[in-house]
Each structure stands twice: as structure tokens, then as C-alpha cells.
Symmetry: C2
Subunit: 221 residues, 2 copies
């Protein structure tokens, strides 16, 4: 199994990657193919599809897994079987995400929105989303059906010029999903979230994420 | 990458595997875990979900792939990029299917319906289907949006005792999808389709699949 591509996303670290990528439509990512697949032939006709499946690797994790995991949506206390969750700590470490196809650029490079992956994630496969087979609105789910309340976002800091309107919209979408670990609720605690090219410092209390500082992200590596 | 399970389906051969598994709800398959994952802990809570994703290997194919493929739905004449199709001949040979979870049995063994996989297919991952993330009824697709006309099925042969009502329902669902290659339309040609434990002989003409013979499937291997 070899990556066919890597995805460039603004998420330099795991912290801040949206739990639900489709709720961050302003976050744009780019899928860049490996040399063996750099042919427009490989993606001929892809522009006919609005959405794509990506099968990818949770490459930030080791290979360790446990039969049960504690999903954040359940407050981090209840154990479920690893195959009953979308946990990143799983045998074979495969991720599955649907993204919206924004455009097919020369290269080819695929511009997509809604990716829930760390920058540089290896991609093993890309498939078109086919609604008649893949869309099952009547499917029932367990714990994930619990209502979830987005945070309000208040920007209490000056924004540097790199903070384009698109970037700010993406920041609001990312913060609204409450990136904090499920078991943390300290109103004084400052969090640092890298949304390239910037780093956001924020606090959360009373259902509101307050942006305290926005500054260029530290150099990586 | 190691299989976590294998799936037992009635499709002993590629011929007859439904193009759309969800249109063959009476075809029941069983997912049998590999020894390292044979713990009920691994599937704890899975019964809360009505549908599952399977990521699996197109193990009947070699590793050969071409940048473009000719999808059967387009009559086999039009070339599309491999990543714009769900073709089995693709880099890394990964398949992606949604199945309905019928029951979780001891083992664990997962009974599922709607699998579009050959018997013995290796499974790399099982994930719950989460409608709020995975179900996109508004997604648009290209060629696959073309209307498709199911065949009528006429049973013109005695049925042996292994042909339970469930099996017959499954047979009708499989034949209605017209298993013939897209470019074949010879009303005299006899086709043989193994739907374990039986083999079906049929012809197709005028939008009707006529079942000529149903008999125990030949021994395999």
C-alpha cells in the first residue's frame, strides 16, 4: 500500500482538526498526487462529481490500538468497540472522509473543502461520492445522534493581513466545533490552534470561544 | 496492512456480484474476524448502528491499473479517470461499500446485507455509518445518475430444496440488476451465476431474465 497523494490542509497539528469536516466548508485543502499518478487522465470526468471519498492514513498515530475506545462525543467516559467508532487509533489506521470537490487544477491538484485531516496526510484512494449508493439518510446511528451545540465565536483581537475573509470564516467554523478535549472545561485555560498560515489563541467559557490573539504560525519542523 | 476479517458471501465468483449491493437486501453475508480481533469488545456498541462501512481489498484482481477505465454504466465505451470511478482496477485495490447490519453474533460474526463482494474478500476496516457526516443526498454525480432499468425475472425451472424463499428473493434481486457485461446482448446466450449454495443458468431478452436451471453449485477449489 503506497500513498497515491498527500493532502495539504491548514491543520498543522491534530489539535483543531474538525470532528466534522463538512461543518468547516471555508477550510480549503489541496490534494497533490504522487509522481506516478500525476496525469490529468487519472482524474478525467471527476469534475462531474460534487463530493469525493478519501481513504487515508492516520499517520500521526503509532500502530497501537485497543479493542475499546472512549469517543469524545460521549464525554470520554464510555467505552465502545473500536469498530463501532471512527477513532483514529484502529487496526490498519485507515481514515475515511467525504470532501466537497471545489475544482480540479492542473497537476492534477484537487481543491476540496471539508477535509478533517492533518497537513501532509497520505491518501491511499480517491473515489467519487455516488449518492444512490452512499447516501442513506434513513440510517440510524447510536451515540453520534446526540445533539451537539456549536460554540459562538467572539474575535477579541486584531487580525493580521493574512487573515483573509475566507480564513476568518474557516476559523469561525473550526472554533464553533469546540476543539477542546471532551473532558476539559477550564474557562481560564488558553488554547493554541494552528490554522495555517496563522495561529489562534483562544479561551472557552459559557458556550463562547473568545479569540485572544491571531499571529503568524511558528515555523514547523 | 493486514485483514482484520474476511467476508463470506454467496458470490463464489465475480460474475453476479451486484453493481449495487443495497438493491439485493435479501443477500446475507457474514463478516468473520481474524483471530487477533475475535473479541466482543471490538464491536461493543456496534448494534446501535443500522449500517456499516467496509474498506476491503479487490483480491480477485492483480495489481494492474490504468489511468482511465471504461465504466459498464456508460456502455463500456467511454473512458474516465480511474479516480472518477469505483472501478476494481485501481492503485492500492481498495474497495468501499456500505452494508446494512442485520445482527452481531457471537465470535464476533457480523451478519450484514447488501455486500457487493466476492466470497472470501479480505476486510481492512469496519466503521459505523454516521448519517450526519456520510449521507449527502444533495451530492451530484456524473454518469451514475443515468436512469437504470431493472430486468424482470421469470423462473422457468423447478427449484431444489436449497432454494429457500430468502434465497429466491436474493436471486431475483441479483438478476434484476442484469449481471451481463455491458456490451453483451445475445438472447441465446446462457449465463451461469453461482449464488451459493446454488448455481443459476439464465438467459436475457426483452428486458426479462429467464431462469432456465437451478442446481447445486459445483465444488470449488
Amino acid at each position: 500500500m503506497e500513498p497515491i497523494a498527500h493532502i495539504r490542509t491548514p491543520f498543522a497539528e491534530k489539535f483543531g482538526v474538525p470532528r466534522q469536516g463538512n461543518l468547516a466548508p471555508h477550510v480549503i485543502s489541496e490534494i497533490v498526487f504522487e509522481p506516478a499518478y500525476r496525469s490529468m487522465d487519472c482524474v478525467r470526468g471527476l469534475e462531474q462529481f460534487s463530493h469525493l471519498w478519501l481513504i487515508w492514513q492516520f499517520h500521526c498515530n503509532g500502530t497501537e490500538w485497543h479493542p475499546t475506545v472512549r469517543p469524545p462525543r460521549l464525554g470520554g467516559n464510555t467505552r465502545l468497540g473500536v469498530f463501532a467508532t471512527r477513532s483514529p487509533f484502529r487496526p490498519n489506521g485507515l481514515g475515511l472522509s467525504v470532501v466537497r470537490l471545489v475544482s480540479v487544477e492542473p497537476g492534477p491538484v484537487l481543491r476540496v473543502s471539508g477535509a478533517d485531516m492533518v497537513d501532509g496526510t497520505p491518501v491511499f484512494d480517491i473515489k467519487p461520492y455516488i449518492p444512490y449508493a452512499d447516501s442513506l439518510p434513513e440510517a440510524t446511528s447510536g451515540f453520534t445522534a446526540q445533539p451537539w451545540h456549536p460554540l459562538a465565536v467572539e474575535i477579541c483581537a486584531p487580525l493580521p493581513p493574512q487573515a483573509t475573509p475566507e480564513w476568518v470564516a474557516g476559523m469561525q467554523e473550526v472554533l464553533a466545533q469546540d476543539p477542546r478535549p471532551a473532558y476539559q472545561d477550564d474557562p481560564e485555560r488558553e488554547y493554541h490552534l494552528v490554522l495555517l498560515p496563522l495561529e489562534i489563541t483562544f479561551r472557552v467559557s459559557g458556550g463562547v470561544a473568545r479569540v485572544l490573539r491571531v499571529a503568524p504560525a511558528p515555523r514547523r519542523g
